[in-house]
């Protein structure tokens, strides 16, 4: 057990901070307020991600064969921590490098790797994830979007297309994405996690319609994606037909702690503390509790990265870290309103922006309840019934 950083890691963090100080524009805080999916932040990420890639940092944790540097998972974790602490200037592209790329490396065909990985590694690719459906949220395996084989008009390698019908919901970044990591049911008779397949679907295919869902969280946060007779070539299938659940289980373990949201909460808390009335014991107590919650979330996220660095399979510690992160974000959000008082009521104010981000913490990438179910079953060994 030790908690130190190597000289290399420390130097990397310092170099990265200097790079960020230089590249982030003076009005970055304004840009960042809209969240990773806002038009402003997406536009900035089109400049930022290629710059990060040019430094060799965007996908440094990937194998060299795919444009990475075989860096340790810690390097990528430091990157995520520093970037989230600044409001995630990668915009939606954190998702690609965290788990979509690794899933393609593990399950993709040579052609998919050749076509899809280099744009991600260059910082030029926008993806969205087509998981949730109106009737399949926490219970993701209830998904019903159907993809049926039909002979291909063009001559794909497998000689067929999947014709996709259904809809996806809560899809962040769907308005900007060129590809969707889409979960479909390829066997209409199948139940639960059987018969699910992953398609890497181009978003510009005929029959794909994206509609924004107006929400209180922010503008262009959530979308619905309607799929009507969309012909997806069989060459877009990731992994074997009917075994998509294995692919997505692998991907989700990376996704749950992929976003270092605790780092953003900690930075917000620092800003709150700066304007807290000095010497008010009640406020100090709440600041102390929120700070402790952020620190706990940081360490429990580190524990997951440590397991990855040791080459261990993903465990329920991922769910533990996610719950801890949610507790931290909520503690900070409550304090934001309290310390900013009536000023928090203005849309786009500092407190308001954090409050809206934090309100998604317990639902995004798996609800707190699902995470707690998994901790109860896999860590505590509590029985189902």
């Amino acid at each position: 057990v030790e908690f130190g950083w190597s000289d290399d890691d420390r130097a990397f963090r310092a170099e990265l901070r200097a790079f960020l100080d230089e590249i982030l524009p003076p009005d970055w805080d304004e840009i960042a307020k809209g969240g990773p999916g806002s038009d402003e932040q997406v536009a900035f990420s089109r400049r930022f991600c290629p710059a990060l890639a040019a430094r060799g940092w965007l996908v440094q944790h990937w194998p060299a064969a795919f444009g990475g540097r075989d860096a340790s998972p810690w390097r990528h974790a430091i990157l995520g921590e520093e970037l989230w602490a600044r409001g995630e200037p990668r915009g939606p592209q954190y998702m690609n490098v965290n788990w979509i790329g690794p899933a393609i490396m593990r399950y993709g065909s040579d052609e998919q790797k050749r076509a899809l990985l280099p744009p991600i590694a260059r910082g030029e690719a926008f993806w969205c994830q087509g998981f949730s459906e109106p009737e399949a949220g926490s219970d993701l395996v209830a998904l019903r979007t159907l993809a049926l084989r039909q002979p291909s008009g063009s001559s794909g390698p497998d000689g067929h297309d999947y014709v996709v019908n259904g809809s996806k919901i809560w899809t962040s970044y769907a308005n900007h994405a060129e590809h969707c990591f889409l979960l479909v049911r390829t066997d209409p008779e199948s139940k639960r996690h059987h018969g699910i397949t992953v398609l890497l679907m181009p978003m510009d295919l005929p029959g794909v319609v994206v509609r924004e869902i107006p929400s209180v969280v922010g503008e262009r946060y959530f979308h619905e994606v309607f799929l009507t007779d969309v012909r997806v070539p069989a060459s877009c299938r990731l992994g074997p037909e009917g075994e998509g659940w294995e692919v997505v289980s692998y991907a989700l373990q990376y996704e749950r702690v992929g976003a270092a949201r605790y780092a953003r909460a900690a930075l917000t808390l620092d800003a709150l503390a700066a304007r807290a009335p000095k010497g008010d014991p009640t406020v100090l107590e709440k600041l102390g509790a929120a700070r402790a919650a952020c620190e706990a979330a940081r360490l429990l996220s580190y524990k997951v990265i440590d397991q990855r660095a040791h080459g261990l399979p993903p465990s329920a510690d991922t769910n533990v870290a996610r719950v801890a992160g949610t507790l931290a974000e909520r503690a900070v959000a409550d304090l934001a309103l309290e310390l900013f008082g009536a000023e928090a009521a203005e849309y786009g104010s500092f407190a308001d922006a954090h409050f809206r981000l934090a309100m998604t913490a317990g639902v995004a990438v798996g609800t707190t309840e699902v995470n707690l179910n998994l901790v109860a079953a896999r860590v505590l060994g509590l029985p189902r019934d």
């Binding site: 057990v1 030790e2 908690f3 130190g4 950083w5 810690w74 620092d270 503390a273 700066a274 807290a276 014991p281 100090l284 107590e285 709440k286 600041l287 102390g288 509790a289 700070r291 402790a292 919650a293 620190e295 706990a296 979330a297 360490l299 429990l300 580190y302 524990k303 990265i305 440590d306 397991q307 040791h310 533990v320 719950v323 801890a324 507790l327 309840e369 707690l372 179910n373 901790v375 109860a376 079953a377 860590v379 505590l380 060994g381 509590l382 029985p383 189902r384 019934d385």
Partner: protein
Amino acid sequence: VDFAPSDEQRAIAEAVEALLAQRAGPARAIELARKGEYDGALDAALGEAGFLELALGPETGLLEATLLVEAVARAGGVVSIGASALAAPGVAGRALPGPIALATAGEGGLVRFAAHARTALVLDGGVARAVALTPGSVAPVRSSFGWPMGRLPAAALRGGDPLGPGSGARLASLWRLALAAEAAGAMRAALDVTVEYAKRRRQFGRAIGSFQAVQHRLAECHVLCEGARWLALEAAWKGAPAEASAVAAAHALSAAGRLFAETHQLSGAMGYTREHDLHVWSMRLPALRLELGGLSAQLRAAAEARWP
């Protein structure tokens, strides 16, 4: 960063566990509590094995000592382990005669181990003072909270030799680290015994631990215990600086309130009995929340250290 124990840490942990399996555990804690006694035999055995000097090195340090404190708390040991293994070596640079009571000059002197202690470490503003006590000279005070307690007389709170400039802040940090480690150990044991109970206890034809309303609360307790444990270990690895120690204490003692409430609620009436082991650990948690100015003081200390 490495969350896995080194070979040496693993060897120490195994030796500690072997000793505790022989000399500690809930049955012994219940027996000692019945008589209001201190576990002098366990204290002596830990000392003879050299465990009380882990903090002094050269190959080991505060981290290994903190792992020891946590293990002793998990085993329900009735010894002044936080003071002996962390506070004394950290602030005095050497082991002090145990049992050791930790006290603050500004409070009433009602503290753990006072009636058995040979040394009191007193936090008096900016300095710490070590006060020699004659065992048996302090009358025991009966308490609900799982440890032998006593009230140090005013003379003891004012006496003794100052341990030098800065020793007060040092003692406060080490005390907070010790509280965090003791709470982490006791919380883990209280949670384990509650989880086992929830698996075994059947009502409405099924184990109560199969109800989601129960599972979620136990799972959240696990999240809090894990956070508390790793924060304590990180603070120890850093050498118990003011901020990390206060953060660890703040998180652990906040969690302790939740753990106390949930483990008792989910253990039903059985949790109130002295035949069920839960109370060995659960009833200590409120006492830890009273020390060094109480939970609110640890929360404020965490904020003041972060944003001076």
